[in-house]
């Protein structure tokens, strides 16, 4: 019963319509939050007592790094759902997530590097966080390459799901393994239990940007998945109808 409902909700046609409605409702708040976050982060927030103004890159760097991991987990989770319950939609979400995740990972690496130059005196160090983020980028690239290499879409989706799952098991292992080189990267700031060791005036723009990034991911993944749906269902009646209408 539940299963039936779920399958119907996840039917490509239904999803295509629903996503079309949702996208503007995600994109507009995303834009507003980004503007607000940038304004509070770059203009309103005071300079840091130690790092001066250069810490401000954190408002891009930190949310991007969060997203890079969050998206990988979403991708693996969607892949698993697609693999186990054969829900096509989950497969499409998994595949659509990979390039977005790779972009956020790349963004986190680049901004981190720009931040590292004034702070550590070097663009790059083989530090634990940096290295595991770099490997995460390779994992994403592997997923994308595998998806591109397999012609059959259905087969590609299942292969990608397996690879993403293997990767998700490995991420904590990779993370701990690279911690063996003593780490230069700071410890967690916001998630510490007692109280975030960041001043409220800096925390607010950081959280605004984090939510904006999440919304960005949500509407871009929906857009990509919509394209994926059209591509995969291009022979079905409803897509042909849609094509004729426009």
């Amino acid at each position: 019963m539940f299963n039936n409902f779920f399958h119907r909700m996840a039917s490509p046609k239904h999803f295509y319509r629903l996503a079309g409605i949702l996208i503007p409702w995600l994109a507009v708040p995303c834009l507003l939050l980004t503007l607000a976050g940038l304004y509070y982060g770059l203009v309103k927030a005071p300079p840091d007592y130690q790092q001066g103004d250069s810490y401000r890159i954190m408002f891009i760097h930190v949310p991007a790094a969060w997203m890079s991991m969050f998206i990988y987990v979403v991708m693996a989770g969607a892949g698993a759902i697609g693999l186990i319950w054969r829900i096509k939609l989950a497969e499409m979400v998994a595949i659509s997530s990979a390039p977005i995740g790779a972009s956020f990972t790349f963004l986190a690496l680049v901004t981190g590097s720009i931040w590292g130059k004034p702070m550590w005196g070097t663009w790059w160090v083989w530090d634990a966080r940096l290295t595991s983020e770099l490997i995460l980028l390779f994992l994403y690239l592997g997923v994308i390459a595998l998806n591109n290499a397999i012609d059959d879409k259905r087969m590609a989706a299942r292969a990608v799901a397996i690879l993403a799952l293997v990767g998700v098991i490995n991420i904590p292992i990779i993370h701990y393994s690279v911690e063996w080189w003593n780490t230069l990267h700071q410890g967690p700031t916001v998630t510490k239990f007692d109280k975030p060791s960041i001043h409220l005036s800096m925390l607010i723009p950081l959280l605004l940007m984090a939510v904006a990034f999440k919304l960005y991911y949500a509407f871009v993944v929906l857009m990509r998945a919509r394209c994926e749906v059209l591509d995969r269902e291009r022979n079905s009646g409803w897509v042909k109808e849609l094509a004729e209408k426009t």
């Binding site: 007592y49 702070m119 550590w120 005196g121 230069l184 060791s197």
Partner: protein, 153 residues
Amino acid sequence: MTPKRKKRIMLIGLMLAGVAIAAGFALQAFNENLMFFYTPSEVSAGEAPAGRMIRVGGLVTEGSVQRQSDGLTVQFDVTDNNKTITVQYTGILPDLFREGQGIVAHGQLQEDRLFVAAEVLAKHDENYMPPEVADALKATHDAATSDNAKKVN
């Protein structure tokens, strides 16, 4: 229950057992000192081996940094707010190196308890605040450093 299904359950059981034992091994490994990282207290208590490459971490004691006449060799004290050890390093120090800052030194402990570092890494801490807040905090919370020492690890 068909024999096939029994076999399948057996395989899954084996798999879970493997994962569990793997976790056991990993936990055991993490209980030991993997990184050969020691605090000044541990060094003072004689827990750190001499003459071998180890890591020592802590805060640079205020006013302890002394440059030697060659201009490159630096000597400073590192503390965890309990015990203090003296570190000697020859080379260029990282930009973030300053008194009161957390550092990690990689090197050898000499017989005379002097730690000769081959490498010194500075850590920028995870605190973000405007300068005035930092000043205020410093004035009121001198004891907060004990908390910081822990984070350096």
